[in-house]
């Protein structure tokens, strides 16, 4: 780096120039005096003036140079030290002095040393951070390269910026072939029914327009076309990439679900076969037992009746189990239909209660109904509502000891209300079923809606039960925009709450209707 000329050098140059000019002028004047006619005295006087004048100027110059050495030169050293052009040892020479310059030098030396220390610390930090970043980047790259899912990163216009190795292998394209191409236009995406998927339904478009992640499951898989023209089923999710409040692109993750689709098909076929094959002998046993018990085939001996009743009850349980398994498979495949119609909720509940009345009477259970009679009719699927309400009520009756009570409360709740810890998002009808039963052990409360789950305490008391009832209720409610939650205390009872928006259920086409039945 070329440094600007120091201040002392500039002054030195100026003084030298002034001395040279004055010396020159004096010599010129001396020559000039010799050429003109002056008496000896005049010549001596003028020459003396010129010599004395020059000597004064020369001495002044020497004085200035001396001053320069003690004041301006250290300044130069300080400036150079600060701009790191000289070795600090020069500055240290000044700092040893005990005058004002020495003190200034000490301060400057301290500041420079401090700055240098901080600078070194910062360098070390940056080096450390850079190394950590490089490690993290290497880790991310290893993960992205080696995950079993295909991963695509695009900009806001869906132009591909990156695809991982798995995606390259699944699709048969390399990144350089796809770079800046629009995802997923070149894949001729089809839905699970093999119909061409409209652009607006691409998960990436939904994610970008809604600015939130879009997840798809096996029930709504798509088909992608590989480079070689063959197609394969995928489950794909997309999410916007957000930097603070700004959306900068999207990331798409997809996986090959060929095996799952195949298993699903086999499962569907098995369920269909099993349902029909199991239902025929079950219907036969059911009808014959019913005939025997009704006396249509002749009177039974009184002590034979309990045996036939047991056969009959067990057959009913088996039928319920078959129906429940069918419903679970339909719910999981998302193929059940929803056909809403205006329903008077309290009337429906009254009808369900009538069905459970024999069991309620048998166990001497006190039934308390608290119905909001001004509740308007709500657009609901009667069959789905029947399944939900019937399971809630039979559950309460089944798991309440004799002479206990069951309270059914139907209320209207407005958006923003809170019911036992749950927020009501929109105006809703809330059905509460509270019992004075066995309750759910606190350590098992988070599993109560799991498929085939039965709590330890009721397993001991009631051998019957499939563990499918609450799972089915929750699955249905999740499909139709409803919600279920509960509070429970061991040996005191449970309260189950379900809410459905007053706006009702949305119509949904499906291949199958769910079968009613008590699955608990």
């Amino acid at each position: 780096m070329q440094l600007p000329m120091s201040i002392s050098n500039k002054i030195k140059g100026l003084i030298l120039a002034i001395n040279v000019i004055i010396f020159g002028t004096a010599i010129s004047l001396l020559f000039f005096l010799s050429s003109i006619s002056l008496n000896e005295n005049q010549r001596l006087l003028i020459s003396a003036i010129l010599v004395i004048g020059f000597l004064i100027v020369f001495m002044l110059s020497c004085l200035i140079l001396l001053l320069l050495h003690s004041t301006v030169e250290p300044l130069d050293v300080f400036i150079n030290a600060i701009s790191q052009s000289v070795d600090l040892s020069t500055l240290k020479d000044y700092s040893d002095k005990d005058d004002a310059i020495g003190k200034v030098a000490q301060v400057i030396l301290r500041v420079i040393t401090d700055v240098q220390d901080r600078y070194n610390q910062l360098e070390q930090k940056i080096e450390k951070r850079t190394k950590a970043l490089e490690e993290s980047k290497a880790k991310d790259e290893a993960i992205i390269k080696n995950i079993a899912e295909g991963l695509v990163v695009t900009d806001l216009e869906r132009r591909i910026i990156f695809i991982n190795t798995t995606a390259e292998m699944m699709l048969g394209y390399r990144l350089f072939e796809l770079f800046e191409k629009k995802w997923p236009d070149f894949l001729e995406v089809k839905d699970h029914n093999q119909a061409v998927l409209e652009e607006t339904r691409y998960p990436i478009n939904l994610a970008l327009s809604q600015r939130e992640p879009v997840k798809r499951d096996i029930s709504s898989h798509y088909y992608y076309k590989r480079k070689d023209g063959s197609q394969f089923p995928v489950v794909s999710s997309a999410a916007p990439i957000m930097v603070g409040e700004d959306m900068v692109g999207a990331v798409v993750v997809f996986r090959d679900v060929s095996k799952e689709v195949e298993v699903d098909k086999v499962k569907t076929e098995f369920v269909s076969l099993a349902s029909h094959q199991l239902r025929t002998p079950l219907s036969t046993i059911n009808w014959y037992t019913e005939t025997l018990l009704s006396g249509d085939a002749g009177d039974l001996e009184p002590d034979q009746i309990p045996y036939f009743e047991q056969i009959y009850e067990s057959t009913q349980r088996m039928i319920n189990l078959v129906n429940a398994l069918l419903n679970v498979s339909r719910l999981e495949m998302g193929t059940f239909m929803v056909e809403p119609e205006p329903i008077n909720v309290t009337e429906l509940i009254t009808d369900v209660i009538k069905e459970s009345q024999p069991k309620i009477d048998e166990k001497h259970i006190e039934l308390i109904n608290v119905f909001d009679e001004e509740l308007p009719p709500v657009l609901l699927d009667p069959q789905l509502m029947w399944i939900i309400v019937q399971n809630l009520i039979t559950n309460a009756v089944k798991y309440t000891p004799e002479s206990g009570s069951v309270t059914i409360r139907v209320t209207r709740q407005d958006a923003g209300d809170k019911v036992e810890g749950a927020n009501i998002i929109e105006d809703s009808v809330v059905i509460e079923v509270t019992d004075t039963g066995y309750g759910i052990p606190s350590y098992q409360q988070d599993q109560i809606f799991s498929k085939l789950f039965r709590a330890d305490n009721v397993r001991e008391k009631e051998t019957e039960g499939t563990g499918l009832g609450l799972y089915i209720i929750k699955s249905i409610l999740e499909h139709v925009g409803g919600k279920i939650w509960f509070i429970s205390e061991l040996n005191k009872g449970s309260s189950f709450f379900m809410c459905l928006p007053l706006s009702g259920m949305k119509h949904r086409e499906g291949t199958k209707a769910l079968s009613a039945g008590n699955y608990n």
Partner: protein, 123 residues
């Protein structure tokens, strides 16, 4: 006069118990075990009602309904089947079935109730 009911059911034990129940309730019952026989019987007629299973040998229940529709055989049909898919229920009703009962989910007494309900409503 007793109403005449044709029971079409390929599972013989089921056909037997169903016929017995209906006869017990005072109906006159004819039983067949395949779809072709159903068509023979309804062509000969007359019947007041057919209880029709869907999965049967030779001609299945859907085809029976189809032929009856094309041949303008106007006997009301109540389907009794263990098929329960929405598509199947809809298809049967589109082909003219007046009611659809899933066998495992109904008692014999309920079948009788539904038949009587139908006769009462059509009178």
């Amino acid at each position: 006069m007793a109403k005449k009911i044709l029971v079409a059911e390929d599972e013989k034990p089921m056909a037997k118990i169903l016929s017995m129940k209906l006869e017990h309730q005072g109906f006159e019952v004819t039983t067949v075990h395949d779809g072709a026989a159903v068509l023979d019987e309804v062509r000969k007629g007359p019947f007041d009602l057919v209880l029709l299973d869907l999965i049967m040998p030779k001609t299945d229940g859907f085809e029976v309904l189809n032929r009856m529709k094309h041949e303008n055989i106007e006997v009301p049909v109540i389907v009794t089947s263990n098929l329960s898919k929405e598509m199947e229920v809809k298809k049967a009703k589109d082909l003219g079935a007046v009611d659809y009962l899933v066998k495992t989910n109904v008692h014999l007494s309920e079948i009788v109730d539904r038949i009587e309900q139908y006769f009462n409503s059509s009178n």
